[in-house]
Amino acid sequence: MAVNTVSNPTSRVDRLYAWFDPPGRRWTAYALVLAFLVTGPLYMSNYAMVIMTNALLYVVLALGLNTVVGYAGLLDLGYAAFFAVGAYTTGILTQEFGVNFWLTIPFAVVAATCAGIIIGGPTLRLRSDYLAIVTLGFGEIVRIAARNLEITGRASGLSGIPNPSLFGWEISGPTAFYYVFAILAVIACVSSVRLLHSRLGRAWLYVRHDEDAAEAMGIDRVKVKLAAYITGAIYGSIGGVFFAVNLGSISPPSFSFQQSVLILMAVILGGMGKIPGVIVGAFIVILGPELLRDIGSLRLLVFAVILLLIMLFRPSGIWPSRRS
């Protein structure tokens, strides 16, 4: 059945997006966003900066999940597991073994790659609904393991993860971490764009659109899907590494199913496969509940209703990809 994923090409919102099409306007928009990011700390309170840091972390995570869900079309409901792998790798290595923070990043990447292969290898041949439930089960297994193992600090988690230092300068405080995450988010964006336009990126889109045709053209779909899975895992893991040093302590509730759902919401709400859309989605899922803080305990309810309305009025997300 042919499904029109572009809601209505002539709608006002879509015309607004189309306004950004000429390269001059696009680069101006990039420059403005970058300028806003750089000058942010000048006019933001500490509280606002902590929230912004969190939103930027979600940009990284959502872009990573977007590689899996948006590019390759694989539904992953346990993405927080990779986030946990990165966070715990750094936590354990810095705390138990006294490894320098920057040296833990390669370890986290390797750990995420292994986790991606372990879970992706046997399951990527399954149909997509089953893949969803397997990833969900995997996510729960990782969280429960973190809750019950000695080395991960059981339910109370790990605390006292030292601040990293760079060229003798210690990274601490909201402003420094804000910039760390801003740089991380920019790197994630650029690498995500480059991946999409690479040979692998085109293979992902091809597999998502028509697996059989892709295979007939000589694309090994299992290998390509596994590559998407591992790429997503690495993004999530690096997000986790910096999450761990930013907070200084990590515990299992940060890696629950709700966390996976929140990241997935950012991707689909914003518009799968569309980088600006995913970024908007990440900001909505973090800033939305914050802006609604005044109404107290009802804020998540109101947020859920708003989410429902957005999905009903823009089924393909706020800023969908025009390609399909």
Binding site: M1, V3, T5, V69, G73, L75, P122, T123, R125, L126, R127, S128, D129, Y130, A132, I133, V134, L136, G137, F138, E140, I141, I144, A145, R147, N148, F257, V261, L264, M265, I268, L269, M272, S297, L298, L300, L301, F303, A304, V305, L307, L308, M311, L312, P315, S316, G317
Partner: protein
């Protein structure tokens, strides 16, 4: 009467086996009832209804509310519980229809992942509504049933357990008859094969989908009320884990297959009960065990135990 602890210490291997068999049957019939809703809804609209666990939770609360209302007339014994369960099934059945009409129907032609997010949003709405209404407190589900039961040697079976298992089986048989013998059941099976063709054949597809949601939600409500009676406490988050487990059960049985859902539910319930007896798998590790079994089943037999293999076209 001896306390459960005393009983456990003097139990032989056979006793433990039988005791866990009974516990597993109770747990498994709850899983099966919830899994049926998952599988039916997946059959007709190919949606993994993530809100289903929360529908079960709402069923428990409506059942609790109904029991407090009818306790004056029917008492809080079996008669009252039965009336409360029927009320809960009807109310929650209509809630299911409302959810389908408001949230899922407009999304049926949208990309598949979008409707999934809608289901997650519905789940959040239900959960947070319950949270706001109960302040996040655990509500005690009090009945007049007491703890009477049959003591067979070292074995102990409460009447509540027996009645709940029997009631679950009656509901499952009723559902099986509904699906295999009635016009709506036939339409449901036809829609799960080819929705567009059914529409061309003059079947009112929308109405059949609505009926499916009614039946699926009513079964979840029945399970919710019974779980309240059995475990004595209900809270806003109780649907989450059982939603996952029932989903697992549906997949183990082969999603889309009614008999598979029942079988999957019972197997999962029994596996979990027996797993608690294996050293090292107590407490939270039992969930790891459950999901491990799920992954194993899917890797070895991806269509589930009774599922039909089909070529997927997204």
């Amino acid at each position: 009467m001896r306390t459960p602890e005393e009983r456990t210490t003097t139990m032989s291997f056979t006793d433990i086996f039988l005791q866990q068999l009974i516990n597993g049957l109770v747990l498994g019939s709850f899983y099966a009832l919830v899994a049926l809703g998952y599988t039916m809804i997946f059959g007709v609209i190919k949606l993994l209804n993530f809100a289903h666990g929360d529908v079960y939770m709402v069923g428990a609360f409506v059942g609790f509310g109904a029991l407090s209302l009818v306790a004056g007339t029917f008492g809080a014994g079996w008669a009252g519980i039965f009336v409360a369960m029927v009320i809960s099934m009807i109310v929650v059945g209509f809630l299911g229809v409302i959810i389908e009409q408001a949230a899922y129907r407009p999304m049926l032609n949208a990309p598949r992942l979008s409707i999934l997010i809608t289901a997650l949003a519905v789940s959040l709405v239900l959960e947070n509504s319950a949270l706001a209404l109960t302040d996040g407190q655990i509500t005690a589900f009090n009945t007049d049933l007491g703890f009477n039961g049959i003591e067979l040697g070292n074995l102990y079976v409460s009447y509540t357990q027996v009645v709940l298992v029997v009631a679950s089986f009656i509901l499952m048989i009723a559902l099986e008859l509904f699906v295999s013998r009635t016009m709506y059941g036939k339409a449901m099976r036809a829609i799960s094969i080819d929705k567009d063709m059914c529409r061309l054949m003059g079947i009112n597809v929308q109405r059949v989908i609505a009926v499916t949601f009614f039946v699926g939600s009513a079964l979840a409500a029945a399970a919710g009320t019974m779980a309240g009676v059995q475990y004595g406490r209900i809270w806003y988050f109780m649907g989450f884990l059982i939603g996952l487990k029932a989903f697992t059960a549906a997949v183990i049985g082969g999603i889309g297959s009614i008999t598979g859902a029942m079988l999957g539910g019972l197997i999962l319930g029994l596996l979990e009960s027996f797993a608690t007896q294996i050293p090292g798998i107590g407490g939270e590790w039992k969930d790891v065990f459950t999901f491990g079994v799920l992954i194993l089943v899917l890797v070895l037999k991806p269509t589930g135990l009774l599922g039909k293999s089909e070529v997927e076209r997204m």
